[in-house]
Symmetry: C2
Subunit: 571 residues, 2 copies
């Protein structure tokens, strides 16, 4: 076992230990055929607890009160949580909110809430109190599980509030809650809990971070969660020997279903309360980490950390990247450190990733620059996803028509199938708009290449119309990011007297190169424009470049172009 995890000194609470010969299965629902098991990701944990009861399932090391749970004990704790929720009056389909960073609490909730046949509502801890209040109100959550550090986000509420001090020790209110659940179960165990007979029942209610307007509540199903998790486990080639490091927040689209995917694969999970690069490298080096997920902005922090080093080839690490395409620079830096980047794409409405960039043998012979252009594509629908299409809709027609697979014609990415959300909660108008034409409309504008891979050009609102040409801000960003001194870049439209619109680039510089350009931003602008000229058509070259200390971002790390547009509007 990994040295830094093996050193955890911890004994779980007495209520965490299962009875001697637990039956690790639910009470079978009646009146369903012998050949039908409703798909449900909780079954992954019951199976892991049966097959590898003593394997380390969940470690939470970098806190004053570190904890570590085996599959057997973790399963019992999620069962306790289910009974505690039932004792607290939870009814079938009731919502349970959880407000927590990556901790055992939110990991537990991904099983315990589903086992009680409730719907989990993970809430982004970076939201403002009034935003949290809106979600609590809209979801109608009757029980709130909250980490001590985020208690202030819960205002006055009629819901029952359970606080976790994140200790795992007796005396912690959350532990008391679990202990009550264990007592309430009266040792009926899993057999006292009814399996959900309908796999199309809601599982999780995640709110989109919505850069504009009110957040929308995305309802996913048990079937979709099961299939998406298996898809992620397979695409990541996660297995029993894997160790997954939680960098991506679990509240973000249910951690892209990885709380279940890792358990399906019998992998060990490590939770970190914060994105702390020292801790991350400590675990990459000492804890045998093999997989983690994160947006490019986080990946940039990882490769630039002073502790960063080349990892031994005996323990290859896979970085699953979504949120934006990895740049050539990022790909090269990750690979230098022995980390294999895998580019995936998705939205909260698609359980996180539903496409993957599939590496082709022929790319091995390409230059980094050429290879990174291929790797920046969002690629093909992944293992258990349905189709991915790029479409347009003629006026007065309901039919979505495919754009030609020419790598040029812009259309909207749509998908359908088992890993598309069920609906927006209590919002039939938004649901029917999102499903217009019989597919889920992502709102992302893309081309489809002759090989069937899709490449996002922009969100519809991010296209820059320069001299009558459509310039993709993403494509411009991709090229500008290949400048070795650029750390991050975002491009938006700025009005232009002659061309209508012209691209303006906001750039942060690499820490190593900041001093070089200090007081010489104008020279840097010239340098970057010269870099862009051979790489981009004239209408897409940035007319203006502004070096800034940092870019405005959403709570989930997405760059807020709306803020940049406000800046531009004032120029």
């Amino acid at each position: 076992m990994a040295s830094s995890l093996a050193s955890i000194q911890f004994t779980p609470t007495p209520a965490s230990f299962p009875s001697l010969a637990p039956r690790l299965r639910f009470k079978a629902p009646s009146n369903i055929p012998v050949n039908h098991d409703p798909l449900n990701p909780i079954t992954f944990l019951l199976r892991a607890a049966l097959v590898y009861p003593n394997k380390l399932a969940l470690a939470h090391p970098d806190t004053p009160n570190p904890v570590a749970y085996t599959f057997s004990i973790w399963a019992q704790r999620t069962q306790n949580l289910a009974y505690a929720l039932l004792k607290a009056g939870l009814n079938h389909g009731d919502r349970v909110a959880v407000i927590a960073p990556n901790t055992p609490l939110i990991a537990d909730a991904h099983y315990g809430v589903l086992a009680a046949r409730g719907i989990l509502v993970p809430i982004n801890t970076r939201l403002k109190p009034h935003e949290v209040a809106y979600i609590l109100e809209h979801s109608g959550a009757s029980i709130i599980l909250v980490d001590y550090e985020y208690k202030h986000l819960v205002g006055s509420t009629k819901a029952r509030v359970i606080v976790s001090n994140d200790t795992g020790r007796a005396g912690d209110p959350y532990e008391e809650f679990l202990t009550q659940g264990r007592a309430y179960s009266n040792e009926r165990g899993w057999q006292g809990l009814e399996a959900e007979p309908d796999e199309n029942t809601g599982a999780v209610l995640c709110y989109t971070s919505g850069t504009t307007g009110r957040p929308k509540g995305v309802i996913t199903t048990l079937r979709g969660s099961y299939l998406a998790a298996i898809g992620n486990a397979f695409e990541g080639q996660i297995n029993k020997t894997s160790t997954y490091l939680w960098i991506l927040p679990m509240f973000h689209a249910s951690g892209w279903t990885y709380p279940w995917a890792n358990v399906f694969a019998f992998a060990t999970q490590i939770t970190l309360r914060t994105v702390n690069f020292t801790h991350i490298w400590n675990h990459l080096i000492h804890s045998g980490v093999t997989h983690y997920c994160g947006a490019p902005t986080v990946q940039i922090g990882i490769i630039n950390d002073p502790l960063a080093r080349k990892l031994p080839p005996s323990r290859p690490v896979t970085a699953i990247i979504a949120g934006a395409a990895p740049t050539a620079h990022l790909i090269a830096e990750l690979e230098k450190k022995g980390i294999k980047p895998v580019h995936v794409y998705g939205l909260t409405e698609t359980y996180g990733p539903f496409t993957r960039n599939y590496e082709q043998d022929a790319w091995a012979n390409l230059s980094l620059d050429e290879r990174s252009r291929f790797m920046a594509r969002q690629g093909h629908a992944f293992a258990t996803a349905g189709e991915v299409r790029v479409v347009f809709q003629s006026e007065n027609s309901d039919v979505l028509e495919d754009v030609p697979a020419d790598g040029k014609t812009l259309g909207e990415i749509v998908t359908r199938g088992n890993i598309v959300m069920k609906e927006y909660f209590n919002d039939p108008a938004a649901t029917s708009k999102a499903f217009k034409g019989g597919s889920f409309r992502t709102g992302d504008l893309a081309v489809i290449h002759p090989d069937g891979s899709v490449a996002i050009m922009d969100r519809s609102k991010d296209i820059i119309i320069s001299g009558g040409e459509n310039a993709s801000s993403l494509a411009i960003e991709q090229e500008l990011a290949s400048h070795p001194h650029v750390l991050e870049v975002s491009v938006v439209a700025r009005n232009h007297i002659k061309w209508g619109e012209r691209p303006m680039a906001f750039v942060t510089l690499h820490p190593q190169h900041t001093s070089k350009w200090k007081g010489r931003h104008h020279e840097f602008e010239k340098d970057l424009k010269a870099h862009a000229k051979p790489r981009l058509p004239g209408f897409a070259c940035p007319e203006w470049v502004e070096v800034v200390p940092e870019l405005p971002k959403t709570s989930t790390g997405k760059i807020l172009k709306t803020e940049l547009r406000k800046v531009v509007a004032k120029l």
Copy 2:
């Protein structure tokens, strides 16, 4: 690519090449929710053809007319087959029989028949004409795809018969049939084929080899095939870099769903018409084979072949073993050759494997003999399977009760869930008997150990009642097989004047040791009894040992205890 496959000189027929920009998806069924894709294993091939069109999908090397197909071409050929079947008048749910050894024909049928929304009926080529006639009659197959070598198995029939000469070349009647399908499609492609809207529709109709009575027709579903295939891909850790060698007949429980599992994982498949150990070793050594399935009898042939050698650790090979537990000798010999044995268990009614022996870290410290005892257990339900239970049924009760998990109490293995058959075709009485108590009754007698793993003791009829004790013939066989000179062994009950029954062992000797014991079988009997004495309770020690040149077997390689019992009855 593997040298022995790369040397294949072959150009597919013109009809095998897809049109320039094929849409690799079916016409979407109408009136199903946006978030529902009926699970269907054909989607694996469409996805592989999209993501890795030029990767080698299927090679058929060791024939006068070797062939090799990429995913793109193979997908087109299965589409041609679907249209050819529709042109021949196939209606939804009609049965299509295939009588073939492991060839592209039967691999194609696993996709083409399903794409035409027919039900595939794979027929064992080792059956007698009257047995085949029964299956053709009972299944009501309206179209028969037959390999040239097995034409004689098709008697007079009203069904349309298509013969394959297994050439893949123009002029072959099967190729003509595919070409007609391509013409009939009129280039409507996959979009001209309706996806099956109901995932619980029948997919395959496999007949059990039934050692007694008429074979029963097992109907599996699309959903079950999809989930079982993913389970097998995951359990085998098959991926894009894998090469699967077809030793197990594909007609046997649809090749345990591997025709789909391999494609899900983007693996290459190699088909062999016969179990030829020279060819098998050629491919293990030269074609980069990573996976194969087979019963212990076949595995014994592999390890004893003169070509057998240690394979390089750089390309680990996994042998998936079912049909009977691997013995200590077999495990040791496979491991010596760099082949990792994985023991799985299942029946035709469970899509092949539904349990797996999960290796535990602690076993690494055990002696081979102790370790093989653990590895002989059938283990736990696997990835996408439902529960596995060992039960008894009290008189006058419908409820199946679990036996204690003590490793001692005998009960019947039952299971339920997504990888249990839908029904016995046209046999509601047999179906309801098999599902009595709300689970599928395997008829296998087993114990359940405290760790939840199951271990088969016997088929109910194979228990030997010796002095009032239940002796498991399997447990006795396992111990006798640990004698280094024993190749295979089968134990049946023989009447005994004092004890009621006593075990009698039929043994074949290892080729290297046959000469040693020639004319000295009585000495060998003493030697084997002495070997058994410290290993088995007195009532389980064989009273009689008979050395035979070979053991009687079914067409699928199972030892026919019924034949041995006939021998015993005459003694």
